[in-house]
């Protein structure tokens, strides 16, 4: 599904290399986790994949189902099935959560040549999904992420993901700032979405999330590269020992 090959990325404005030959492949139906020290480039990877400005790919490739991601606009990547749950979801005052979500869904459908959702269908769907994530009707009506608590923002990201039903879901530290119950809700939401034709790339610092969302593969990232790949036991090792030995071994 997602294929990243020898990706080199630098900042557009500065001469600073952040990704230095990153390769990774997530087959359909699998959940992969990425762990790694602060500043290793995890968020940068997620931004480059989803098309944020300010980065320059100097070498390498990234594709979704064989389509070259790097050539597409962010909205085209979304319509092609890519979704990024942000580490820091953005507040947009004056724009209703529902209006935003409905516009996004219908724009994607239109781009794919599908029927747009009527407002009745949309409402039914969004209410059901919101209830599953314990998102109140009042939060749905409020402006996008405005006045939401940290945990509420993260749940709102998962609501968007559930509504947009992407095939490739990237989650950047969705578990940070969540209380124990909210983490379970989010994990349940993600598990409900697991399907043979849908994949996940879960960026996290904590093994705990991976108890709820069982990964098939765990990658360790450091200094802009994947330095080690293994099974769920790798996450347990990080939790217990930290990155020291792992990085020394790889380096």
């Amino acid at each position: 599904m997602l294929k990243i090959d020898n990706l080199h990325v630098k900042l557009e404005e500065e001469d600073k290399q952040i990704l230095k030959g990153l390769s990774l492949e997530v087959p359909a139906g699998q959940v992969h986790a990425i762990m790694g020290p602060n500043g290793s480039g995890k968020s940068t990877l997620s931004y480059v994949l989803s098309g944020r400005d300010g980065y320059e790919v100097t070498e390498g490739a990234a594709s979704l189902d064989g389509q070259d991601l790097l050539e597409m606009e962010p909205e085209e990547r979304a319509s092609a099935g890519l979704f990024l749950a942000f580490q820091y979801p953005v507040e947009i005052p004056g724009v209703g959560n529902m209006t935003f979500l409905r516009t996004a869904m219908n724009a994607q459908r239109k781009a794919r040549g599908e029927e747009e959702l009527s407002s009745g269908e949309f409402l039914k769907l969004v209410r059901a999904k919101a209830a599953e994530l314990h998102i109140s009707p009042d939060m749905l009506k409020r402006p996008v992420n405005v006045g939401f608590s940290g945990g509420e923002k993260k749940r709102n990201e998962i609501l968007q993901m559930a509504m947009l039903a992407p095939r490739m879901c990237i989650m950047d530290e969705t578990d940070s700032g969540l209380d124990v119950d909210a983490m379970r809700l989010v994990a349940d939401g993600v598990n409900a979405l697991r399907a043979p034709d849908r994949s996940f790339l879960v960026i996290t610092h904590y093994q705990r999330l991976l108890n709820h969302i069982q990964p098939d593969v765990v990658h360790i990232m450091a200094e802009g590269r994947i330095v080690k790949t293994g099974g769920p036991e790798l996450a347990l090792q990080v939790e217990k020992e930290g990155y020291g030995d792992l990085l020394a071994e790889a380096g």
């Binding site: 098309g51 944020r52 962010p74 990024l84 947009i92 005052p93 004056g94 724009v95 516009t103």
Partner: protein, 446 residues
């Protein structure tokens, strides 16, 4: 944003009119036919002599530093072609009492009967000649005259002297629906001057809507007198199809416990200046003045100027100025806003914000916020910002599949939200929001 809790002082530069060429003013007056007036006759004569004293604004006039007065000084306006297919107007499907003015002159045939419980509606031209004595005589030109200090506003005096028509509204109750003044154009070169007088009696309340523009050039004055506990919601909207040259003045006197809420929406245009002069004269009164402006220089030069002067002369009063401008393709926005807190106006709560969203580097926003405070127990703050689109928010929206142009529409609406919030009636606010969204989306799809 700076918060200033105690005394600050500054000086508004004064400009004398003596240096101006009287010929230019005489040529300007020559091109107008000055009505003699009935109950307004004395006010008109007085305005004319005040105007001759002050002259027209010149290039060195401090108050006209950011906006070129010459198109308003010219004896005749440049003709502006009529727009035939303007599409539906903003409040077309609303239950309201409709008053139509064509190039500044009342059109009875196109208007509703002026029958509405709790409000007495007349038109200036209809009653001016006939009536020797009228309630509006104590206001016509009176609030305008009071608003000439400390800053001269020659075009307002010109208006008092030369206005041909307007609406005279006296509110005694709480009418069941808004009064809607609609301005239309019928000639490509009309120089339209209208002058409204609104008096809201004690405890009474009115929503006054005003849409469209008139003439190839327009000069409008509205004098508003709010008695104790009275309320006026004034909402004006000018849209792209009305595009032209316009100047307007709002003069308001707000008595104790009264509330004035004024909101103006301007969508494109060429050269526009709106002045608001508000005198908060009684304790516990509230005055809000807000505007949302969208300017696109693509269809010709765009310059829009909001100039506001709020005087706090009583205790525990609140004023808010919220001005938001979205500018692109070389559009220019101006904001000059002042809060004057007089001695003794304790517990004043004054707030002022002016912000511009520049969609490109060619556009510009000039702001001159001022505070002048002579009372020691007040809370006043003012702030002004100029910024570009928030790239992070833009990316967030696009990452969900929203096309770039549509995402920009969302961010523009987001930027304007604080100004729209000033429209108190939720139904009207949503209507304005929807119309704005539809208009922006339509254009975004090009």
């Amino acid at each position: 944003m700076s918060d200033i809790a105690v005394k600050t002082k500054d000086v508004t530069p004064q400009v004398s009119g003596a240096a101006r060429a009287p010929d230019a003013l005489e040529a300007r007056l020559e091109a107008l036919s000055l009505p003699r007036g009935g109950f307004t006759a004395a006010a008109r004569r007085d305005a004319l002599s005040r105007l001759r004293d002050m002259g027209l604004p010149g290039p060195r006039d401090e108050y006209w530093r950011y906006t070129d007065p010459r198109p308003f000084n010219a004896p005749l306006p440049q003709p502006v072609p009529l727009v035939t297919d303007a599409g539906p107007a903003l409040f077309d499907d609303l239950d309201r009492l409709k008053l139509v003015f064509v190039d500044g002159v009342f059109d009875a045939a196109a208007s509703d009967d002026a029958e509405l419980e709790g409000v007495q509606i007349e038109t200036l031209a209809a009653v001016d000649e006939a009536t020797g004595d009228h309630w509006a005589a104590s206001l016509y030109g009176v609030l305008e005259t009071a608003g000439q200090v400390p800053v001269r506003r020659p075009f307002a005096a010109l208006n008092t002297a030369a206005a041909r028509d307007g609406v005279l509204i006296r509110v005694t109750g709480r009418p069941s629906k808004p009064v809607h003044v609609i301005h239309r154009r019928a000639s490509a070169d009309a120089d339209a001057l209208w002058h409204h007088v609104v008096r809201v009696e004690e405890g009474a309340e009115l929503t006054l809507l005003e849409t469209g523009m008139s003439g190839a050039r327009s000069n409008g004055v509205i004098e508003v007198d709010l008695a104790k506990g009275a309320r006026l919601h004034h909402i004006t909207a000018k849209r792209a199809a009305d595009q032209k040259l316009g100047l307007s003045h709002l003069f308001a006197r707000v008595a104790a416990e009264a509330q004035l809420k004024s909101f103006a929406l301007s969508v494109n245009g060429r050269l526009m200046r709106q002045e608001g002069v508000i005198d908060i004269a009684g304790d516990d009164a509230v005055a809000h003045i807000a505007a949302a402006v969208l300017g696109d220089g693509d269809e010709g030069p765009f310059h829009q100027d909001d100039t506001v002067f709020i005087t706090h002369g009583a205790e525990r009063c609140e004023s808010r100025q919220v001005f938001k401008k979205v500018l692109k393709n070389g559009a220019e926005g101006v904001f000059q806003g002042k809060i004057l807190v007089k001695q003794g106006a304790q517990k004043t709560d004054g707030y002022q914000i002016s912000q511009a969203l520049l969609l490109d580097e060619r556009s510009q926003f000039l702001a001159k916020p001022e505070l002048e405070i002579y009372a020691d127990d007040v809370k006043c703050s003012h702030g002004s910002t100029t910024g570009a689109l928030d790239e992070t928010a833009l990316f967030y929206l696009r990452s969900r599949g929203v096309p770039k142009a549509r995402a920009i529409v969302f961010l523009v609406l987001s930027f304007l939200a604080d100004a729209l919030e000033e429209v108190e009636d939720e139904g009207l606010r949503e209507r304005i929001h929807e119309r704005l969204e539809a208009w922006l989306t339509d254009r975004a799809q090009g």
